[in-house]
Amino acid sequence: MANLTIPRMIMSGLSRLSLRRGAERLFVVAGLAIILAFVFMAILAPVIAPYDPNKTGVGRLYESPNPRFPMGTDRLGRDILSRVIWGSRIVLIVTLSSMALSSICGVILGLISGYVGGKLDTVLSLFMDSLYAFPGLILAIALAVMLGQGIMPVIVSLTVVYVPIYFRMIRGEVLSVKESLFVEAARAVGANGRTLIFKYIFPNVIPSIPIVLSLNAADAVLTLAALSFLGLGLPAHIPDWGFDLRMGYGALTAKIWWPGTFPGLMIVLLTLGFSLFGEGLAEILNPKLSRR
């Protein structure tokens, strides 16, 4: 989008954030509520989880949901509710830290590449575009296989998968802002490189980051779940929705539905929270489409 008006749209978008746009505001609020609910669940896990998530035999094997075990028990007689609650911790830790890492790397590289241009930009863009061309999950699988099991390897894999997205976005924005008239105007009054980046380019690029951050977080929750579903990544002692879902398939044909359904539902809900938040934000900050 070679568009000079983006910053302007975002400005006017921000100013109306608080007022109108019913549906979008509802999206943002609902999304935020879901995300916060999971954050509290993760923080308060030791307090609210009724049982030790790893303790086997707290109930019988495959107890269906009942007052003692609202989500039932799994194949080892562990409490599914407690596992689900504890599972939110690892998901949030991994997604949030990989999002932080990838956005920092991507934004910095994108800024440099877009601003400096030339050979550096060509090489970096080619590399990032090729990474981007790969299906995120396949890339994550390859990396997770290479890096082995553990929390750090998973965070690194996800970071590598999402860096190109931030890179491409920021670089694109920088290029369009760099070409924009007000930056040329700033050069015309004698602004130097540093002033241009920090007073003209950066403030106009920043507003689009939260949208992408939120949408990528949604995607990262899914990718992480997929990795553990495929048996890659996290060590066995950490309660984890993706892996529990995989195990839930074991007794499916015996109509034992609860061990897979509840952890999977958590994955979908958290993803939904992030995407509602991001989508609503995007619509509000980009009124071009919805205004008329």
């Binding site: 299906p135 396949i138 296989v145 290479m146 495929l230 044909t253 994955i267 979908v268 995407s275």
Partner: protein, 336 residues
């Protein structure tokens, strides 16, 4: 139309550097960033075992020689041999599993595009009304679907409880058609084998819905966005001002123009389709490339994993080539 031919030839030639770049990225990720040996052996292993594998994979050579070896064997279409069991050529194994993936992909892709474009057009025409809001929510929800969970729910409802549809595999035992193309539905038709046609379609339904709905949200959103944009453009207003019927305006002028960015996205989303296929196949024990990859991951079969990724890279290059060529035929502006 010579310029058209020149364009296509140039575009085909462009695939070569593209492929080379992608292969180099694979090399960097698998050999430079990670250590295949520890990936295979999982860290603790006797020294002589490590040495053996290093020699077997050629990892004892300097990196640039490894790179040249890697590229030259790929040029010979040699993806190496599997590290387990019969040490069969990786390419042979991939090609055995590829038709299953292709069949699922085609069916899910078609389903998702039809569903997505239909809902997207509907949403754009009812812009900002209730239908539009509901369809937009649908778009967001599909984005959040976790395939294995959605598959699980579908299996529970339609397989376990209602018992209408099979929940795994491509066919019931003994029902597979004689292999011609490897696409069961097509093979059943070619061999005029009605029972196996019905059987293969029944097996295809749940995986198709699972993957198709997941992918459809993207096309819904995309179609909606671009239709809204196109519907506001001058030439649509001009078409209306000429007294054309609403149908002609929407389907002949607007959708065709909105389709160009959708096509671009289809090329890019092919990657997403593949990733989705890996999960769908694993969920439904569908014996395609994704399921195969999943099985080999657990055996840490390095050459197979590398081979599959190289194969996927080739597919990506091929698809982007096809999309660009279709492009030329749809959009006259590119030819000149």
């Amino acid at each position: 139309m010579t310029s058209l031919r020149v364009y296509i030839i140039r575009r085909i030639l462009l695939s070569i550097p593209m492929m080379l770049i992608l292969l180099s990225v694979v090399f960097v990720v698998l050999r430079v960033a990670g250590d295949p040996v520890s990936a295979i052996l999982g860290g603790h292993a006797p020294l002589e075992e490590i040495e053996r594998i290093r020699r077997q994979l050629g990892l004892d050579k300097p990196l640039y020689i490894q790179y040249i070896d890697y590229l030259s064997s790929l040029i010979r279409l040699d993806l190496g041999r599997s590290m387990i069991w019969g040490q069969r050529p990786v390419l042979t194994e991939i090609l055995e599993h590829f038709p299953a993936t292709l069949e699922l992909s085609i069916s899910a892709f078609t389903f998702s595009v039809l569903l997505g474009v239909f809902t997207g057009v509907l949403s754009a025409r009812r812009h900002n009304r209730l239908t539009d809001r509901i369809i937009r929510l649908y778009g967001i929800i599909t984005y959040s679907i976790f395939i294995p969970w959605f598959g699980l729910i579908l299996q529970l409802i339609f397989g376990v409880y209602l018992g209408w549809l099979p929940i795994s595999g491509r066919s019931d035992p003994g029902m597979a058609p004689q292999t011609i193309t490897g696409l069961y539905v097509l093979d059943s038709i070619l061999t005029m084998n009605l029972p196996s046609l019905i059987d293969s379609i029944r097996h295809l339904i749940l995986p198709t819905i699972t993957l198709g709905i997941y992918l459809s949200g993207i096309y819904t959103r995309l179609t909606r966005t671009h239709m809204i944009e196109v519907l506001q453009s001058d030439f649509i207003r001009a078409a209306r001002a000429r007294g054309l019927s609403e149908r002609t305006v929407i389907y002949k002028h607007a959708l065709k123009n909105a389709f160009i960015p959708i096509l671009t996205m289809m090329g890019l989303q092919f990657a997403l389709l593949l990733a989705g296929a890996v999960l769908t196949e694993t969920t439904f024990s569908w014996p395609g490339m994704g399921y195969f990859l999943y099985e080999r991951i657990s055996y840490r079969d390095f050459t197979t994993i590398q081979g599959t990724i190289v194969f996927i890279a080739a597919l990506i290059v091929l698809i982007s080539l096809i999309v660009d060529i279709i492009y030329v035929y749809i959009d006259p502006r590119i030819r000149y």
